[in-house]
């Protein structure tokens, strides 16, 4: 497989993408504590940033992404504008989806983050459709779909995997196994301990990876995307990671052993990568400081932009159901 060699630029990008995601969501954590500050439920990717950063960096701009309820990191790593994302999360008119999506259904079709569904397990069939279009038009691009360990229990996911297997669709399935689906740990909701073996049932390669090691994720994603791009059909990645903040911001995690959280926080993907880059002389402390300041500024700007933005007109709720029909 022709995996690009590590360059300092790529490594810096991987770190920077994770950093922006983390700081962006940490700000949401703070705002979620202020009553009435944010509408809806806040479901965050804190702890899972290496999966998003590693997979997205392995894609080309023409490749398509289908996301789920835990989408912030996917979007930010793809280069979505933090300002309009934050505005959407607050339900403002300047939001990337004009306030219709809110935090749970953020999509940026312009960046080929084509669709986001918060219906658990809906992503893979949608993504199979996108991958079919890519195959049909011989575009050479691939579709990546992110879904959870919990989603892997939905029938829709299995149907999509089988269809993609039979039709050899260029579909890269990325299962973010964060150990939990709501308050249910994998051993309660999943019959196998190793989700990647499900690939065998649908005649596709399936591999597990340390989802908190951004370079390992990147390498595997690049390899699997090359497989899909080469016309050999779909592939499955199981990225093993952890949802550090529970299901959502209102989840007290009373059912989680604190030792489990502590163990995973020692494996924080950002901390690990920062150390590696420092030790390897890829980035200096001053570089890291600059990146930190840059990320903090972007987040502050995003909150400021969203705060200053108006809410949409109530009646604009009627817009966008249908495309304006052409006159006959």
């Amino acid at each position: 497989m022709n995996i690009p060699a590590w360059t300092p630029e790529l490594q810096a990008r991987l770190y920077q993408d994770m950093l922006l995601s983390r700081r962006f969501e940490e700000r949401i954590v703070e705002m979620a504590k202020e009553k009435g500050r944010l509408p809806g439920m806040q479901i965050l990717s804190v702890g899972q940033e290496a999966v998003a950063a590693g997979v997205v960096a392995a894609l080309t701009p023409r490749d398509v992404i289908v996301s789920n309820h835990r989408s912030h990191a996917h979007l930010l790593c793809r280069g979505a504008d933090p300002n309009t994302l934050m505005a959407e999360i607050m339900g403002k008119a300047t939001g990337v989806n004009a306030g219709k999506a809110g935090t749970l259904h953020l999509a940026v079709p312009q960046l080929n983050v084509l669709m986001t569904s918060t219906v658990v397990g809906a992503g893979p069939p949608l993504a199979a459709g996108a991958a079919f279009a890519q195959q049909y038009t011989r575009s050479g691009a691939v579709t990546v779909v992110f879904f959870g360990d919990g989603a892997a229990a939905e029938g829709s996911v299995h149907e999509a995997m089988n269809l993609a297997g039979v039709w050899k669709l260029p579909l890269l399935l990325v299962c973010e196994n964060n150990c939990w689906a709501g308050a249910q740990p994998c051993r309660v909701h999943c019959a196998v301990g190793d989700l990647s073996i499900r690939a065998a049932a649908y005649d596709m390669p399936g591999r597990a990876v340390d989802g908190n090691d951004v370079e390992a994720v990147y390498r595997l994603a690049a390899e699997m995307a090359a497989h899909c791009r080469g016309g050999r059909g779909p592939a499955l990645i199981e990225a093993r990671t952890y949802r550090m903040r529970g299901h959502g911001e209102s989840d007290p995690q009373h059912y989680v052993d604190p030792a489990e959280i502590a163990a995973w926080s020692r494996r924080c993907p950002l901390k690990r990568y920062r150390q590696k880059l420092l030790d390897g002389g890829v980035l200096s402390a001053a570089d890291l400081e600059r990146m930190e300041t840059g990320a903090m500024r972007k987040v502050a700007d995003a909150v400021d932009f969203a705060d200053r933005s108006p809410y949409p007109e109530a009646r604009a709720a009627l817009d966008d159901v249908w495309t304006a029909a052409p006159a006959l």
Binding site: P39, G102, L104, H189, S250
Partner: protein
């Protein structure tokens, strides 16, 4: 009578049913261990009390959850399963629409499906259209399924018990926005027969019909209309299938006017059935056109002002009443 919340009243019904009948079991996503730690959640504490044999956390698999209920019911158990949010009933719909509703009929009356599906509904928590979408009309349209929708704690307990011990498949819709509402609830088994509506405010000028949380919009609209000298009779439907036609028609024949309120989309909504009923069976009594106060045909937007726009308001109810009472 004891004062408690709507959610606690549902919880009492589940406890009573689990105690009364060994065939009752509860299954769903997070019905045992939940991300909520709130005694107002209907399944709170059930796992601790009844253990994992009776209270089952399932994978995220709505088709399997609904199928589980149908199959276990056919074997003589009394399943009580939960679908977390109303829009996700679409994933369970094959098992409900094509199986729970049809298999008894197709067996020539030999099989029985005494199952209950609890589903959380409602608009107003900012989660957007894939969490907020009331689909009662889909279910009511499907033969063989019953559907009840309590509006207060006493009914929450009584109708859930009625559903669990009903011999047929019943969907119990729980308006999430009501879980914390407090009210007096009878002790013990207060199971309610399905198919009975209730007049909650008497009046002579116009009949207002609603169910679930929309009842409070209707009541507030009635209060506003009263300030303009119009006396509304307000009916809490309680049971959408079977429908208490007699209660509705009796009221419409007395008032000669009908306004229907619901939080589901207006087009092909459940209110259309009520309007048709009035037109078909009480036409001679009608003094004015029937009006529906319900959301436009759009998905529920996430943005707060737009979500507010979607939801029918008491002002809109009062305006509709005044318009046809002119």
């Amino acid at each position: 009578m004891t004062e408690m919340s709507f959610g606690q009243a549902l919880n009492q019904a589940l406890v009573l049913a689990l105690e009364a009948d060994e065939g009752v079991f509860v299954a769903g996503e997070g019905v045992g261990v939940s991300i909520h730690q709130d005694p107002n959640m209907p399944t709170h504490g059930l796992l601790e009390r009844f253990g994992p044999r009776r209270v089952r956390d399932t994978p995220v698999s709505e088709a399997a959850i609904a199928g589980l209920a149908v199959g276990a019911a056919a074997m003589g158990l009394r399943p009580v399963v939960e679908i977390m949010f109303f829009p996700f009933i679409t994933l369970a719909s094959d098992m409900l629409v094509n199986h729970a509703g049809k298999l008894r009929y197709m067996s020539g009356g030999q099989s029985r499906f005494p199952l209950t599906v609890r589903v959380k509904a409602g608009v107003g928590f900012g989660a957007g259209s894939q969490h907020s979408h009331n689909l009662e009309a889909w279910m009511a349209h499907s033969p063989g399924l019953k559907l009840v929708w309590p509006s207060n704690p006493a009914d929450a307990k009584g109708l859930l018990l009625g559903a669990i011990f009903d011999p047929d498949p019943v969907i119990v819709v729980e308006d999430m926005m009501l879980y914390w509402m407090r009210g007096q609830v009878p002790e013990g088994d207060n199971r309610q027969a399905l198919g009975r509506a209730r007049v909650v405010r008497a009046g002579t000028d116009c009949t207002l019909v609603a169910y679930g949380a929309a009842l409070y919009t209707a009541l507030e609209g009635a209060r506003m209309a009263a300030e303009a000298g119009i006396a509304c009779e307000v009916i809490d439907l309680r049971s959408l299938v079977p429908l208490d036609k007699a209660c509705l028609l009796d009221s419409v024949r007395r008032t000669g006017r009908l306004v229907i309120v619901h939080e589901a989309n207006r087009f092909c909504g459940y209110g259309a059935e009520l309007a048709a009923l009035a037109a078909e069976e009480a036409f001679e009594a009608l003094k004015a056109p029937v009006r529906r106060v319900a959301p436009p045909s759009i998905p529920v937007p996430a943005s707060p002002p737009q979500e507010g726009f979607f939801k029918p308001s008491a002002e809109a109810v009062a305006a509709a009443v005044k318009e046809i009472c002119r």
